[in-house]
Symmetry: D2
């Protein structure tokens, strides 16, 4: 029995053409004109619609303990919301406590995901300490267990951050292991000093979160991380890049022939820091790190997407309930849990505000949201494209539909949306994960636990070798 | 009857996977696993080999009158050599004489190509005058006849060049017509002054060609063209970019959100200006405009290919016999016909010196040599990719073969090769044009006149619309 | 008999100290504490005030025929106004008509100045044609007659401008002669195209003057001039630099070790292009080329003054009566005479809005308005500083006085001021030219014809040699 | 009784003129033509020679404990050598041990200098810890005692360095106190990692010192310091800048309007890292931090001096005997005491290799070596210029003399010279400190203890206020 998607317009990072797609055993078997249909086949009519690869979100924080609470979406609600928004793969961050055992951390995250995820998933390991044989052994075990990407923090001094020398060591080890290092680039030491200064001055509102983390501090840390990676001879991946300074640092490094990759998130493209001025503690909804930036930065980011400096759009999905969690920082901005929902919004936001406005074309949309992240994190060609042999992660998309963003539209298990009331377009009519329909015209048809862990393999293997 | 290419590894600008490809009526009909074979089908076994889209060269000068002589390859020998090197589409330059009729020029180029070309071809129109109703009418007629790209020259003062105001007008008109403007960016006024100065000083050797055209003059003209295009609100395409200064100008414009595209050529990636010091007038082989650059520039160009600033690799194929044509400038560098062969070398040079050295990956190779030029000049998805519905322009490529570059290897009708004696790898085992085998294991199996004119359509139509 | 200035605070580009100054035979003879006084000496008490070198304005257009009229200040009213504002030297532009004789042009300007100037003056020669033996001979004669600086125009296509090749030739000749080339850097070809486009669209208001000359066109021309000067191996001086793009081009050239100098004018530091929106044709008062720039550019210029990229502040003083001359372009912005008054305002504007606001310090004020221009144009140490042996061009300045800018304050012979109604501070209590009091507490005490022509000598002689 | 210097050519940062100078009570009283001579006056004939302000070296380490030994020049030999080379003021670094008392440190340095110095001197305080009330109190006391400049280290991790947050705090405090912060900008954390890596690999030669401290790490730290200073709203002074990356960071900051100052040293202008390849451990002579840089960097620094980005040339004079001190690191590059002699060489090196080659003019020489450092550290106009009221620190310099650099020429108490055998020119014929001859034609005529401590005053007082 096969699944046959007929008469759609296939779109990939490169191509656009009309064809049928057949999926067997969860894998794309055939792409062609007028493919034959067997009686037992499930046929999906895509006439007048687009057929896209299921999208890949390489930056989520599901069910994550943070700042004294836990992010609001677990692996069931979070992956379900992802699928509803056209995303069929997530790579989530397992984050070890300082001096915590890396393998045990990985076990804990497996326990969080198993039996819950409705789409396939992988893990990055958050590296919060380094420099001892125990740390190195733990990270080598992670790689052996299919976790080939590490993340380190230059922010969150005193809890998550490692210092420059540790980052250098991690990069050098990762290069030898064929693993990739991601970095959260903000100068945590100065952030801490500014937070202290602002708190001492009696400032409590959410806007002071942003004022404690100016873009120059992200630009600085990004530049520094690039220099350290160059010394270590290792590739580098910058997560959630938000500002012109950091963007330019990446661009210059690439122009000099260094391998640096960068990701941004929809919220940094869509908002300016005026959101923090909203009354009634509303600004807290946008409290995340790095924060939303002043006018000018979003334009720079759009240009960076168009010129290829920004290769990936992910979400940093990390939702907290406004009513019960964000409010923990009502009287002290530094206690507001950092993070916001987005895993289900990404594809639609980029389509309506990127593709339809002409800022990026459809190919760039698919490349940044699906193909490129899959390739950079060792998931391609299994994920992120439509090709013979790839997993049957497919989205039938209606480009003409319209809707309104908000909690009524998205499937996140959280009580607010960053995009509440904003117009959107496009509909994810049918979403398949390995050939199984997960979502169909507004109805969840998937199954908790159907998602599989994606064991990735080390090795930077620029084909051919 | 179909042609079936079996068991190969398909490569596109995005993907790599194993599949069979079937071609019917000159068009790809099906891509899949274990496609059925009919008895009458022609079957090509691609086991162990790669299946690539036929490459697209958007910068050739076949049978072109220039500097008192005519380029050595006509549309038969030139397109045959292209096919032998894996290229199945060329876009050649029809160049009007100053104040010459644009439609008559187009007629003349059609006459040169018809009955000769063995693969499909298109034309750009070289715009050497502008500003009168006659010029505008002529260019509008070109667009109506399928020539939707114009080229202008900032170099060749007094013969081909137009001035800044004319370029502005051409760009504004082209924007309205949905046509693309390419530019040869060198400051012709200063080049002329330097040539005069060097000749007056008694300098005659080929090296003075290069010294009359320093990279700063290309950087200057490139920056100027970008500013003019911005004023006109028109996209811009820079041909044969050779140097770090021009590259940086393009990068900055793209970072600022301007639509600027740039092409380089293999010779600028492969050589430094030491070639001009070779004895016995050998340097004349590399006399072209812009010239080969000093050390440092090639590295910058490779980085520009890797970071996406350079989107296209074309050839500027314009060969002149060393023994009988280049020698016209034996005693005066300014009389050496400008140009060199390359249409058949490009794919192999980029594979051996780009892909195999790790400077670019296979996807970038295909993108820059095939997919991107096809897209930028309105030929995609008909040309430049492997997708259902695309023309059956396909190359079966053996990545493991090795050979030596030189006149014995290439099929150009000219008595020298820029790459003589240099090692190469890869073999274009079978080359198909619209499903017909044109070249097979060293033997020409095509036919003069089989190539068709590619009528292109105006309109910058960023899908969807 | 000597003139003795007692008890003032002397300020130079480097120093600040308290001392007396004695002047004999028009030249500073002694600087010291408690200098002896002879009965016949004229004593000026400078207690509580500053003693400055008389300022040097190297960019004026007095009594100049332009755009069908003549600038409103002649050498008497213009130099008198200069002196009233603390300026004791001007270098004015003699501008040859296209193909006009350079020596005759110089004769004509001498005739304009002689018997009228109240302070010393020199000439630059405006070079509007080049490339013939006649042109070269004429320019050599200018140098022999004490005019060692040339100016060329990239703007004013068809009347004043020369092309890139001519500029290259002029620079090469000037390098050999030890003369300096200045350039008005705007892309005249594109300006002309934009003017034509805007006029064709029926736009007539002054604001369209600015919209026809966007800053990108100045940035482009500045970059181009720098490249040409580098090729010619000659130093370059950029007049009236107004925008961030041009500033950055100069900064980069200097960082690369090229000798490039740049001047701005007070109006570009003080205003934004909102002035063109003023009702009742008021915007015409600011119609000059280049035009006043959008917000952001002035800040960049102030930073350029502070970091030394901008070495000179001159005025481009070229006044036209609002009521009778500016009005010529009432119905066509392209007919408004380009230019504005400023020779008498410069020192006061820079003091109030630069020094007192902390943007520059007093030394930079003196350096940019006096010492540096004198040095760059071969007038130092005779002019532009307070040193033993220098001309007794001295200003006794009261830093605490306040006033209101406007026609009632300035001495220009024109019916408007750019700064009408704006607050100012400082008073030029006594102004001496070669030891003679020219201006004293609001009263003119000079004499028409007292000013002498400053014969300058060729040779870039970086001391020592 | 006065000292009269007659008939010389006076040179300052701005001016050049012929005059006599009279000094009374240690202070310049009169500058003029044909000054009267009293019988008791000491007359120095400067005919045919230049009269310069005594130079100011704001970066010395005399008698300093470091890396298990003590620098070879004490305040007697060091200041005597300074005077012999035309320098009449030094500002030396008092460096507190980590958590050491700042006032006691200052006491210790006073004890080192008193009774020994032959010229005037000041102190900077090296800040190696911060963040406690004790630290702040100590620094406030330093300011009260005339030490208004602090230095911190981003290098020397674990001993001298402070972290980013501490630097931010120091800058904020200094801004409030009117003190200046200097920074040694290298990323100590990565240096430490590279040193460990190289040592672990068995590398022992001096060249590995340089390889452990690549220029990118200085560029990174410089950029970071600039960002931190911007956040703190404080001016910043970069000591011993050596490389193109750091230079460009400073240039960009200044272009953006930030107050950043930078100093380089003669050795970074004069040598490339080939010195580390010299046999017989010779490379150890150039072991200092930052190290000598690869080719290209010196050219960038010369351009930075010419364009004003580099405002100061100091020496970082910190000599160690080759035979007995440098040799401590014979078998381990990390144990070689960091530092080299230079206080007596600076003026002559810059004259011969800067002024005479045309890279800088005489005014820039005096400005960078005397006037600007004096102004930036609160010593001007007392020191660093020739003006009425300034201290009588004067040098009579013969610009035509020639000599050979080396230990036989310089007066340093150390057994090697960086410039051994290199040609030089100029002679410091007579050197006066506050009117007293300290050095005369090769003979020391000064007195240990004649030098006075220069009590400096806080407050950034851009005149006027």
């Amino acid at each position: 029995m096969a699944t046959l998607i007929r008469n759609g317009t296939l779109l990939t990072a490169t191509d656009r053409y009309e064809a049928d797609v057949s999926i067997e055993d969860g894998v794309i078997r055939n792409i062609g004109r007028d493919l034959p249909v067997a009686p037992e086949d499930e046929v999906i009519d895509a006439t007048g619609r687009w057929v896209l690869p299921g999208a890949v979100d390489v930056h989520t924080h599901l069910d994550m303990p943070f700042m004294g609470t836990v992010s609001a979406d677990d692996f069931f609600t979070g992956t379900r919301a992802a699928a509803a928004g056209g995303t069929t793969t997530v790579v989530d961050f397992a984050i070890a406590p300082r001096h915590g055992d890396y393998e045990q951390t990985l076990d804990a995250w497996h326990a969080r995901a198993e039996g819950k995820a409705v789409i396939d998933y992988g893990f990055h390991m958050g590296v919060t300490w380094f420099g001892t044989p125990e740390a190195e052994t733990g990270l080598r075990r992670c790689v052996a267990r299919g976790v080939t990407s590490f993340k380190c923090f230059m922010a969150y001094k005193g809890t998550l951050s490692i210092d420059d020398g540790e980052m250098f060591g991690l990069l050098a080890l990762s290069r030898d292991l064929g693993a990739t290092v991601s970095v959260h680039a903000e100068n945590g030491s100065i952030v801490e000093a500014l937070v202290a200064r602002h708190r001492a001055a009696g400032h409590t509102d959410p806007v002071w979160h942003a004022r404690s983390r100016p873009s120059t501090l992200e630009g600085e840390a990004t530049s520094r991380a690039i220099v350290i990676a160059r010394q270590a001879g290792a590739p580098l991946y910058i997560v959630h890049l938000t500002c012109a300074e950091a963007l330019e640092a990446v661009r210059r490094a690439r122009a000099a022939g260094q391998e640096v990759h960068a990701e941004t998130c929809p919220q940094y493209l869509m908002f300016t820091d005026e959101v923090y001025e909203r009354p009634d503690f509303e600004g807290a909804k946008w409290v995340m790190s790095p924060p939303i930036r002043p006018a000018g930065h979003p334009e720079a980011l759009w240009a960076g997407l168009a010129d290829g400096t920004l290769e990936v759009v992910a979400t940093d999905h990390c939702p907290f309930q406004f009513a019960t969690q964000k409010v923990m920082g009502k009287h002290d901005f530094s206690l507001i849990p950092n993070g916001a929902p987005g895993v289900g919004d990404r594809m639609a936001v980029l389509y309506h505000y990127g593709v339809k406005t002409g800022r990026i074309d459809v190919h760039r949309w698919i490349d940044t949201c699906s193909t490129r992240p899959a390739r950079l994190f060792g998931l391609h060609p299994q994920k992120g494209t439509l090709a013979v042999g790839s997993d049957g992660d497919v989205v039938v998309f209606d480009p003409k539909a319209t809707f309104t963003f908000g909690t009524a539209w998205s499937e996140h298990a959280v009580d607010y949306s960053l995009y509440e009331g904003m117009p959107g377009s496009g509909a994810f009519d049918v979403v398949l994960s390995r050939g199984q329909v997960v979502w169909e015209r507004g109805t969840f048809r998937g199954r908790a636990g159907a998602g599989r862990f994606l064991h990735r393999f080390p090795g930077r293997t620029p084909f051919p070798e």
